[in-house]
């Protein structure tokens, strides 16, 4: 066995101190630049935090990749949906003419928009892939109003860090960070493949978050809330997904 020399002790000590200092600085910087996800404290939160921080730094300002029209799936897979509430059926009976999207929270002008209001606001079409955490995927053309333009209408307060968004399905909601919300690819979708957005794909309104897995793209969207912290939503983990054991950040 080699004896522990003074030199070895010194180098190890220095390396350990440098490492600890590096970690503390990294944590401080990560907090400052919003690289800590709301579910960082769960059992596997370390991996989640590393993935979120790295992907944020590397992909935040990248433009969204569109697929060529020829790659649109002939038969997109319609995932199963839960039993729809009566409020949905009532709105469906009038062809969703009374459907409202509320935008509230830390905004200068809270909004209540009909599908027609959204259509009048702006239109963007993109051909992107829905990838499910199960492994399957399909490509479709999604048409809607960029969330960033809706948020510009509402006027976000400077302290906003997250957007929580809710479905008409009870207890179905999610949240994304401000960078994801302002990405031009994040779309309040009201049409698909040159037709209205079918109910099976989330019609009349679905928030498409193409840079994350399918479960972040909430169907039957009714409300968007701007907030500076996810602490007071649900159990404070960002969405019900981490409460069910799924990562809040679904970029991977």
């Amino acid at each position: 066995m080699n004896p522990i020399t003074r030199r070895k002790l010194l180098t190890t000590g220095l390396a350990a101190t440098a490492g600890a200092a590096g970690l503390i600085t990294a944590a401080r910087l990560a907090r400052k630049y919003g690289l800590i996800p709301p579910d960082h404290s769960v059992l596997y939160g370390t991996g989640e935090t590393l993935t979120y921080a790295c992907q944020r730094v590397l992909t935040a300002d990248r433009p969204l990749h569109d697929f060529p029209r020829s790659m649109i799936s002939k038969q997109p897979f319609m995932n199963e949906i839960g039993k729809l509430p009566d409020a949905f059926k009532a709105s469906q009976a009038v062809n969703f003419s009374d459907w409202r999207l509320t935008v509230d929270g830390l905004v200068d002008h809270p909004l209540s928009l009909s599908v027609a209001d959204l259509r009048g606001l702006a239109m963007r079409s993109q051909i992107t892939e829905v990838a499910c955490e199960e492994g399957w995927s399909y490509v479709a053309e999604w048409i809607g109003t960029p969330l960033s333009l809706v948020l510009r209408e509402a006027g976000l307060k400077p302290e906003v860090r997250y957007l929580a968004y809710f479905s008409i399905q009870p207890s179905w909601w999610e949240s994304i960070d401000i960078s994801e919300a302002l990405n031009p690819g994040t779309l309040v979708t009201w049409a698909m493949n040159d037709g209205d957005l079918p109910v099976g794909f989330g019609g009349p309104l679905r928030l498409r978050v193409p840079r994350q897995l399918g479960y972040k793209s909430i169907k039957f969207l009714t409300r968007i809330t701007a907030t500076d912290s996810m602490k007071h939503f649900g159990k404070g983990l960002g969405s019900p997904s981490p409460e069910d054991g799924y990562a809040w950040y679904a970029g991977i």
Partner: protein
């Protein structure tokens, strides 16, 4: 001090501390990745080629096993419990452990000269004959040459090089090619592999190759003395009696 001399003469250092730590951490990460990877696979045991694939498209092959989701037609009348949540969380946490340990190990390989000294085949080994004769030696089960106590033979070197520089980079690449954040920002990551579903299928194939390596690796360890080899990878030391080396042959 006779005892000290004796200890020095009868043990050799086989693996450095850094190699031992990264070896076992990578092993731990690999097991976690394998188990959670199988759990994730069970939620959709169909494999496709190209960009897209779902139950409306033709798979290139299917595992005929029950699934953890009822969106997949399996022919079984029941659905397994859904384990995807924690499996995905742990899969990526273990992937980070693997990547970080891999980088430390890679740095060690390069900066200590271990790579050129013990992993790249030596000049004499760079011939087909070197491979065939070592294979023949394995088949005939002749005792390894003495130099194999201190370094690896050409087959070991080649296997380790393929694992370190081909299979591990490929498993990471095919994994990242399934990340929607990565592929929307850097589409080449997935399109160079033929698309998201091709990447998923290749991820499975590379996993199978890595499991085959693990299988052969453990068999070889067992054949050459399981307890002694495991002890060497934990304590770093190999005993003279175990290595059957006489005193005069020690460096």
């Amino acid at each position: 001090m006779p005892t000290a001399t004796q200890v020095e003469r009868t043990t050799i250092i086989r693996h450095s501390l850094l190699v031992r730590i990264t070896h076992w951490l990578i092993f731990l990460a690999f097991v976690a990745l394998l188990v959670t990877g199988i759990e994730i696979l069970i939620s959709h045991p169909r494999f496709y080629w190209g960009e897209v694939g779902n139950v409306n498209t033709h798979p290139i092959f299917t595992f005929h096993i029950p699934s953890s989701r009822d969106t997949v037609p399996t022919g079984y009348g029941y659905v397994l419990p859904d384990q995807n949540g924690w499996s995905r969380y742990l899969h990526f946490q273990a992937a980070w452990l693997l990547v970080l340990c891999g980088l430390v190990y890679l740095g060690y390989l390069i900066f200590t000269g271990h790579l050129s000294k013990h992993l790249f085949p030596t000049r004499e080994q760079r011939s087909l004959r070197a491979y065939t004769s070592r294979v023949a030696q394995y088949i005939r089960r002749t005792k390894p040459a003495d130099d194999e106590l201190h370094t690896y033979n050409v087959l070991q070197r080649s296997a380790y090089l393929v694992v370190i520089f081909v299979l591990f980079p490929l498993i990471l690449w095919t994994g990242l090619a399934m990340s929607p954040a990565v592929t929307t920002a850097f589409p080449l990551v997935s399109s160079l592999l033929g698309g998201r579903q091709s990447a998923r299928t290749l991820h499975l194939f590379v996993t199978i190759a890595l499991v085959l390596f693990l299988f052969v690796h453990v068999i070889m360890v067992a054949v050459s003395g399981f307890r002694a080899r495991i002890r060497a990878m934990i304590t770093g030391k190999a005993q003279l009696s175990e290595t059957e080396l006489t005193a005069k042959e020690l460096p």
